[in-house]
């Protein structure tokens, strides 16, 4: 239904930047969004993701750089001349027009006379055929959200921009709309660029996620890639939870780096270390809480050889149904988080118990030690809940 076969329909940002006086909202940034993909810009409030989106829409003028849609340079075009449409966070439905006219707005402005069939089809797509003659305020939040999507999609834009479109919905409805949006995107094949501060939302919906921080793209990749191979502590903490151990490089050989931490040794695959590692240098060793197994200290002998291991004492445990979350106090890291599936629960694993934490070395990742291990965690600057 759209020109998805047109090659070179990518969105390309080259050196795009935005400054307000002395404040830099977006540092010069290069980004390519492949045509037909579901792309997410993920970051805390004030990281520049919405500004980037608005520059693609034309609602914000970049201080430098260019915006390409396919081969066309649209940097100087006003928003009403760009083949791009936006779903706003507040939906911004026109209160004086009914649902039908809201959806027809873009078509009418482009001078189309017979819009009835298209509008009705679009309302069917978002399952609002019955509501055509209602005013926006008579619909529920979820319905309004779908009208906003329909109003933008009916124009067959080259790119659909979504600015925190699910932010105002409650959790259950949000999950439902995430799947719904994903379904619509697959159905129409239009490029979606989705701005969100919710890492789960970004990972559920997007093919590619760009994690933004302080006006820069921190890392870009598929959700699984970002989660398994974070290259900075910010990404490691913003997407899920990570444990960090500061370690010293003991020896490098073959495919593995051997590190010293506390009294013990840890193995890190060279390929998973994004920091320059030289013997004697420092590296941050990271591991996700769900990759770790807990064994009571009495059974330490049963742990297979070749696993990374650390000793500690359980400081806290909370049972949350599918798993139990432990906080382990260890000499190398005071708050080690471990998520254990509730398959065979060892009754000895209670607060105060001495335990051994062990995991497959392949699940270890290495980061540059010259950064805060708290970047991207909830207490740190810039990661308060976005409005």
């Amino acid at each position: 239904m759209t020109n998805t076969t047109d090659p070179g329909g990518d969105v390309r940002l080259t050196g795009i930047a935005k400054t307000y006086g002395a404040f830099t909202a977006v540092h010069p940034l290069d980004l390519t969004v492949p045509q037909g993909s579901f792309f997410a810009l993920l970051g805390a409030s004030g990281c520049g993701k919405t500004t980037t989106l608005r520059m693609i829409a034309g609602l914000e003028e970049p201080s430098a750089g260019t915006v390409f849609l396919g081969d066309q340079d649209v940097t100087a075009l006003p928003p009403y001349k760009r083949p791009v449409n936006t779903v706003f966070q507040s939906y911004a439905l026109f209160p004086h027009l009914d649902i039908f006219e809201n959806v027809a707005f873009g078509l009418r402005r482009r001078g189309l006379k017979s819009v009835k069939k298209q509008v009705e089809e679009m309302l069917e797509l978002v399952q609002l055929g019955e509501q055509a003659r209602k005013k926006p305020h008579q619909l529920s939040g979820g319905q309004q959200q779908r009208v906003a999507v329909a109003r933008a999609l009916i124009n067959h834009p080259k790119v659909l921009l979504l600015d925190e479109p699910l932010g105002a919905l409650d959790l259950k409805l949000r999950r439902q709309m995430q799947l719904e949006l994903k379904r619509i995107q697959t159905e129409v094949g239009i490029t979606f660029i989705h701005v969100t501060h919710d890492q789960e939302e970004a990972m559920t919906m997007a093919d590619t996620v760009a994690v933004m921080n302080g006006g820069r793209v921190e890392q870009l990749g598929t959700p699984a890639d970002l989660y398994e191979n974070p290259r900075t502590t910010f990404v490691a903490n913003f997407l899920g939870t990570s444990n960090f151990i500061e370690a010293e490089v003991d020896s490098q050989g073959g495919e593995d780096i051997v590190l010293k931490a506390g009294g013990g040794k840890l193995v890190l695959p060279e390929a998973r270390c994004s920091a320059p590692a030289s013997t004697g240098g420092k590296v941050l060793v990271g591991v996700r809480p769900e990759k770790i197994s807990l064994t009571h200290a009495d059974d330490a002998g049963e742990i297979p050889e070749g696993r990374n291991r650390i000793t500690g004492r359980i400081a806290d445990s909370s049972f949350i149904g599918v798993s139990t979350q432990y906080v382990v106090d260890s000499p190398v890291c005071s708050d080690f988080e471990v998520y254990a599936q509730n398959i065979d629960r060892d009754p000895r694993l209670v607060p105060g118990a001495e335990v051994v934490l062990h995991w497959n070395p392949a699940h270890t990742f290495g980061l540059d030690a010259a950064q805060s291990v708290f970047a991207g965690t909830e207490g740190s600057a810039g990661v308060e809940e976005a409005a």
Binding site: N85, T86, S90, F94, H96, G106, R109, R151, N155
Partner: protein, 266 residues
């Protein structure tokens, strides 16, 4: 005590009815006396029912002339004040400029100033400028004092409007003019209409400022004031009643239209 209980239950209704009566009594008196056939020149005592005045509303010399002057002034003052006031309101809400705060407060000054003081100052101003007092000086004065009311009414409406709506319109292929006509104006319309109605009523009613700056022009309020010295023709009541009826009809029709529209949508 059934009566006390009944009173307790219906006190709110009774209070409402009394307040309504208090509000409407003067209008009723005006209406009733428009059907009077007074003895002598003063229409203060009920004599007998008559339709004479209704059959010949312009029967008193200069009455309809003054009414026409008032309606003309009210029309142009409403137009001028609404146009300027709406623009001022948009500027105050949408743009950040130097002296915006000052303009915001100064705009209320005409409302706060005692009318008679303003009237005298205006007269001084016009005389110093050598302006010919009459229709134009009245019109200028009316536009001036109606402005603050229009600005207040429109500003409240524009302030409650989400600026994202205009962005959405621009995003949906509406250029600046289309955005204004299709989105901004319709949403601001109730505020503009309220401001215009207020301006019309204020202008049509005004006596003090008009009296100072009218020269030899006579508006309807001035005519009533003047004739009250020498006797009150029944036709004044006829005009008053007619205005009242027109206003009530206007309100009823707009309410009916609004009701039907919201019922259609529901």
């Amino acid at each position: 005590m059934p009566f006390v209980n009944w009173l307790k239950r219906n006190l709110v209704v009774l209070a409402g009815l009394f307040t309504l009566a208090y509000l409407l009594l003067p209008n009723i008196i005006v209406t009733v006396f428009s059907f009077n056939k007074p003895k002598g020149r003063f229409n203060y005592e009920w004599q007998q029912f008559s339709l004479d005045a209704w059959k010949d509303p312009c029967g008193v010399s200069d009455l309809c002339g003054s009414l026409s002057v008032s309606l003309q002034i009210a029309f142009w003052a409403t137009l001028g004040a609404t146009l300027l006031g709406a623009l001022i309101a948009f500027a105050l809400v949408r743009y950040r400029f130097r002296a915006r705060g000052a303009v915001n407060s100064l705009i209320f000054l005409p409302m706060a100033m005692p009318e008679v003081v303003m009237a005298a100052s205006l007269l001084t101003l016009f005389l110093n400028m050598g302006a010919q007092l009459g229709f134009w000086t009245i019109l200028i004065a009316h536009i001036m004092f109606c402005l603050s009311f229009v600005v207040t009414a429109v500003k409240a409406r524009v302030m409650s409007m989400d600026p994202k709506l205009e962005e959405a319109a621009r995003d949906l292929y509406a250029g600046p003019f289309q955005t204004f006509v299709r989105v901004t104006l319709p949403i601001a319309a109730p505020g503009i209409a309220a401001g215009a109605l207020l301006a019309f009523a204020l202008s049509f009613d005004d006596f003090i400022i008009t009296n100072f700056n009218a020269g030899s022009t006579v508006t309807f309020p001035m005519f009533v004031w003047g004739s009250a010295q020498r006797g009150t023709p029944v036709q004044i009541n006829v005009i008053g009643t007619a205005m009242f009826v027109v206003a009530v009809l206007f309100v009823l029709v707009s309410m009916a239209v609004g009701n039907r529209r919201s019922r259609q949508k529901a």
